[in-house]
Symmetry: C2
Amino acid sequence: MKIIETVAEMREFIAAKRQAGKTIGLVPTMGALHEGHLTLMRTAKAKCDVVVASIFVNPTQFGPNEDLDSYPRDLAGDAVKAESAGVEAIFHPQPSEMYSAGYATYINVEGITDKLCGKSRPGHFRGVATVVSKLFNIVQPDTAFFGQKDAQQVAVIERMVRDLNMAIQIEVVTIVREADGLARSSRNTYLSKEEREAALVLSRSLRLASEAAAKGERKAAALKSLVETEIKGESLAKIEYVEIYSYPDLAEIEEVKETALLAVAVRFGTTRLIDNIIFNN
Amino acid sequence: MKIIETVAEMREFIAAKRQAGKTIGLVPTMGALHEGHLTLMRTAKAKCDVVVASIFVNPTQFGPNEDLDSYPRDLAGDAVKAESAGVEAIFHPQPSEMYSAGYATYINVEGITDKLCGKSRPGHFRGVATVVSKLFNIVQPDTAFFGQKDAQQVAVIERMVRDLNMAIQIEVVTIVREADGLARSSRNTYLSKEEREAALVLSRSLRLASEAAAKGERKAAALKSLVETEIKGESLAKIEYVEIYSYPDLAEIEEVKETALLAVAVRFGTTRLIDNIIFNN
């Protein structure tokens, strides 16, 4: 497996694969790879001839008081995991390779980026859309793979791809969880033993909502309330949001009729975790 | 020559050309083709196997009080001209084909879009960058051709292409003028006979600055003042701006040392015309 640090070298790698008639799958990541990422890579490998994973902790999607500096980085460990999941090249540029002097161009997906995580993280999805668009232009994959864990990110990227006529397929892979239900996240490593235990309230509360919906509950307020009450029962949990929106257009809904997203963001100490379920009606 | 109205059909046309190993040149226009556009097309034909011209009066680059509705449209006439200049396909989508319901994604090139035309036309370059990026993704040309007449637009597009790592070459073609010096523009058709005569002050004033620079004048203020004085001598002319900036980064300069842009925007009645010269030192 190759580790590629420059745009020029990445383009060369891709050009050679294209010449050989290979299809390309891209898995954009920020590294600190876990089973969620590896599932994306294995899915990509099953669908494309060549899988490229990017590992780039993108500064433009972090706010000034966020965890850019402390975000876990482990390129050597990531390389072993990615190779085992079928990745042929890791694109691992330095920030200066991606954002050179005078950098000035940003992509905004309006509307759906104002709510959920976009509300407490202004500029986050601008950074995400921008870097993903750059990665798409550098790697020019046939298909790019994203996790449903970041449901709003998926909605933003799908909207951007459609709006800007990008010739790329987006594949979304369901949330991978620990055996006890905690959604895999690179930020789980921040949790103390007590917080790790407390964080189980996320998947537990979503399961309650899922069960209620299965039994016929359609009222958004009732489903939200179930989740909120459960999370408030956990003293280490501080709710940032519990929201239900139509999906992927993130419009306000009173009843869950079409596809809808129930998404939560909760702090445990200084660690902010997100989780969600999608109702497909 | 083909006239193509849908993204899907455009992609099919391009895919067939790619399969045949052809290189593609794109000339984005808003139609009302004049000799400036035709020069772009002929230049494209000299450099690429297949030339596609887009004709799309892009609503997102017009302000609420601008000339979107009255902008000259003449597809039949344009088709004849484009074909004679070597164009193999015109991409002529309806606005709804480019901006469908729920459209939400815009590209901003920051900084250089705040000055010159960007100052009096807020949102204009956001619309330009967005639609050009869409056209690039739809046509996927090797090279795209733009006129130096829209010098700030060129700077914005070159910055966007570099920042977002778009795999496209940008070629810039010098300003094409009428025999008497007036820069070709689709908006020249708006001018009355008197305004058409008065508008010659633009090229005349720029020529004065050019001659002064050739004789050694380096002070930006002095060169600007020459142009302003000349334009103010024409009673039908109303200056919007006369500016000198470094080019293409559009930074303030006191002396013309490196490449610099002297750009003017002037109204003649309700018609707003722009013109410019580039100093290459």
